[in-house]
Amino acid sequence: MNDSLHLWLIPALPLAGFLTNGIAGKRLPRWLVTAIALAGPLAGFAAVFIILLGVMNSGSATAPAFLANTPSLPFVDHFGSWIAVGPIQVDFTFVLDQLSLVMLLVVTGVGFLIHVYSVGYMEHDEGYARYFSYLNLFLFFMTTLVLAGNILLMFVGWEGVGLASYLLIGFWFQKDSASNAGKKAFIVNRIGDFGFLIGIFLLLANFGTLTFSEIASKIAASPAELPIFTGGVLTTIALCLLFGATGKSAQLPLYIWLPDAMEGPTPVSALIHAATMVTAGVYMIARTHVIFDHAPFALGVLAVIGAATALFAATMGLVQNDIKRVLAYSTISQLGYMFLACGVAAYSAGIFHLVTHAFFKALLFLAAGSVIHAMGGEQDLRKMGGLRKKLPITFWTMTAGVLAIAGFFPFAGFFSKDAILYAAYLQGTSGKILWGVGLLTALLTSLYMFRLWYMAFLGESRSPEVHPHESPWSMLGPLVILAVLSVTGGWIGIEHFSAFLAPATGPLNLEAGSTRLEIILSIVAVLVALEGLLIADKYYRRRPERPAQLAAAAPGVYNLLLHKYYVDEFYGAVVVKPLLAFSKYVLGGVDLLLTGSAWLLAGITNFTGTILQGWQSGNLRSYAAWLTAGAVALLLFLLLSGSSIDFAVALKGMGR
């Protein structure tokens, strides 16, 4: 075996699937489309899993023979030069280290499960092949993003997943709302990408390289008093990258696209808008953590954005009635936790929450999809109820997901959320405030998740005319696997996890704490989650009339939450409307000039054409008349213009 791992195969297989299904999918039989679509993620997951086994067993004498050749991490695969302009040198490089390994496991593993689920969910859709080709395209770009060895290649994947997200949000493009939501997601992401690009340019200008490892070693080699540290360059770069991350990961102030993105098919919401793509921002920050480590101000901004988004989105999630939108706000809120973790330099805790969140949020979305499927497309929680008996498997898996996100011991969410809150608590006074906000968010999280749970599954059915049926096994299988992962995914514990990630993200610094403190904080967190459950139980089971009364008692607050703090309206008035007005002005002024001159040219041609057209009558005698007139005119000209041509001389010349 040689020392290349052929990492390019991991993105290349989904790309091949995308091309095959995208070009010929309509003419292929359905089972072949399915096989092609599932092959890419399955092969990728198998490959990554084998590498993981090799890494875990490295140095162990009992390791099986086929693992013996696993190279040590980080492993760099170099595929040649991409851009070489003067001193700027950008290569096609894939890097496999602990961080990208974990991320790849999530992307391909959860991705494969969601592909399987989609087989059942999209069974009756006309765009079956198109759907799977887009899904494969997404995996291609996502694995490229994760494996990229330099920030420019990462940006390619970053833009590519944005494209796939746009295509899949607008998958049912016949619906106006879906195509509009796709455009909104794309445009809002562009705004974030602007910051990302500026960050890339600044990196290139200041370091002359875009490779992650070289940037890290250059920062490490520079003495701290260099202008690059004191002049705020790194802080600016970090803030630019952070702005890019807020776009992709739906954080304040650019979170507005994610709730609308729920217009896409539900498995897409699970894969792209919950488990993988939206976590790309967190991944990017963890990948460039060296920059953030040297920019304390940017770290502070990061932590505040994360905590604020977590709380803000959780309050909005409380009053939503669309089952998918509740989950969307919950996703924004949980991504806020990850940002908070990165903001207190606990990157591995953030990645830990990313992984567990991928499990339980994908599970919640897929279970919600199963509910929607069973209800014949109904997404309104107020029309559900009593589904526990009708959809037993969906109910139990969903329960596991709800318990996990609410942070109950020993479900996955407990461990990761606890690690984040613990890390925040250890960051001095400001850390205590962040911890408090995080705890309040945990209460709200538990409240809105159990609200959803009670409204959908317990009580009596509120739409007796619908007869729900349990989903097929292609959908329930992934649900069960994800439910098991949502329970067990956190058992590895933050100590082992961060120790594994330490070479890539730096060690997790928890020295200020103690085991006793950690246990006390965990108990507080679980009690808070329990409180959320009790409130939900009181309002949505025992006294179901109370929420409406509360809403009537404080209509201002309720409307504020229901209309999502009017942020969309605010952006509409401040950004979109002036832009549209300006565009109209441009259309009226500049555009008139351009189209006007074009029309003038066309008019001249047209006018001349009309005149000259008359000559081409097809009438032989008119041609002959013009010919004669021309000849007579020439002769007259020669005769009247005098002696310029002497005929006699000309004739004499002929004779000689």
Partner: protein, 105 residues
Amino acid sequence: MNFQQEVPLAWYLLLSAALFTLGIVGFLIKRNLITMFMSIELMLNAVNLSFVTFAHQWHAVKGQIFVFFVMMVAAAEAAVGLAIIIAVFRARSTLAVDRIDLMKL
């Protein structure tokens, strides 16, 4: 009076010009394609006459050679032209030029 005197040059040229003008006028006013064709022949022969005249006047053989060329072209033209005229007549059942103005058969 010298009866050996030749016919003056101008007379030939005047005859040639008159024939040429007749050809032009015929070409312009006649409607029948064959008549117009004959007018073209008339113009060609008018030109031939002036060629021969000048060749005789200047004792140069070039003009006479040109006459042969013109006659040859005229013969070829007659063959092609008549073929076209027959094709047009088959397609249109008429030879009136002002009704053959579609620029295609």
